[in-house]
Amino acid sequence: MKKDIAENICNETLFSSIFEKHSKNLHNFLYYKFGEEFNPKDKVQEAFIKLWENCAKITPSKAKSYLFTVANNLSINATAHKKVVLKYQLHKRKSYTNENPEFLIEEKEYLEKLQKAIATLSEAQRVAFLLNRIEGKKHKEIAEQLNISTKAVEKRIYGALKKLRTEIKEL
């Protein structure tokens, strides 16, 4: 009996725990894939609402892939008609008061180059690489999330790194 309750996503506690477990990953994945313009937060919400509406039909083990598929499809629907070059905003998180102006200009230039270089990456490369570098995820974790092999993740990330470095050098 207890098992039955635990296996039903319609149970609010379980639903919340699934949300806590997957929502952030899902959000970051959508962000790196489609960029900010497509409201990854809204898409995450929509995906979880869909999960709730269909909670009786989906087992907890299927929840993760369901969420990723739904959110991905929602975003694809939104972007279907326009192929957008993704733009990345620079996040000024710290005030580099200690740095001299020359360094700041240099850093800004470098970030602009990096931004352009990231835009040249393929979607698959970009998602895997940024999840790895920024979110600090291991290859295996990314592989699980994207439903691909570790080897493929490794390839994408290494390819992305190589491409970025040559792009930056050229710019």
């Binding site: 609402i49 990096l114 990231i118 290859h139 490794e154 970025l164």
Partner: protein
Amino acid sequence: MNREDLILKWLDHSLNSQELEQFKALEDYNDLIKLNSSLQHFKAPEYNTSDELKSVRSSISNTQKQSKLNWTKQLLRVAAILVIGFSIFYYTTTLDTTVKTLAAEKSLIALPDGSSTHLNAQSTLTYNKKNWNKTRDLKLNGEAFFRVTKGSTFNVITENGTVTVLGTQFNVKHRNNLFEVVCFEGSVSITNNIKTTILKPGDRYLILDGKYIAKEKENLKTPNWIANKSYFNSMPFQYVLNEFERQYDMKIDAQNINLQELYSGSFTHTDINLALKSITLPLNLNYSISGNTIYITSD
């Protein structure tokens, strides 16, 4: 360990301390670290899981409210369909009933209270079944014979006047300029714009081209046409021909004939040649049939 393996391990966050030293010794170590630290500027915006969970929860409860609303909407839809269905049902059942006969066709109609009506050819009778208990009103255009059971007033409304009875048998004929009522049993009252006339059994009321024509008593129990005969007594020939056309669904061409000449006699509805003879011989006329048209000529 070669350079590529080191970088791969670094990428997988799985360098051990010894490998880390080797990695640091790589010539492009500084480049990689610079790239890596700069990449942090591209971090996804802060995602507050608990805030987001709250808003998902609130939208879920909103949608649940909405689904309840949808449920009432569904109910309203069903109700609307039922209302429309009932009103159509009510409308159609209270609609007037119209019975129409074509040329050469007669019809016997049973009315809701047990009264009956014989409808002669090319006639229209309209009545309302629903209100029949309150008002026994019929609209007639053409000719019909009524057998009325006792009850409330029974009205036959025509353009030339209204025939009112209480329970009787009578014939009403209303054709263009001809309006004839014959009472066979009981009594009948006829009201038109001018006056009210009461007929006793055997009485005949005839208005031809707006003029009242007094007629002798009728001795029959039912009108002749019920027995498939048309009977005329000093009627203009035009009316005889009109009746003939109705009974046989034929066109009559009688251009050079005096149509006002009076005709007395009858014709059968069952034998066209015999009928033609009965209407032409007394007036010394000839006839020929061609397709759907009968030509009548004088000698």
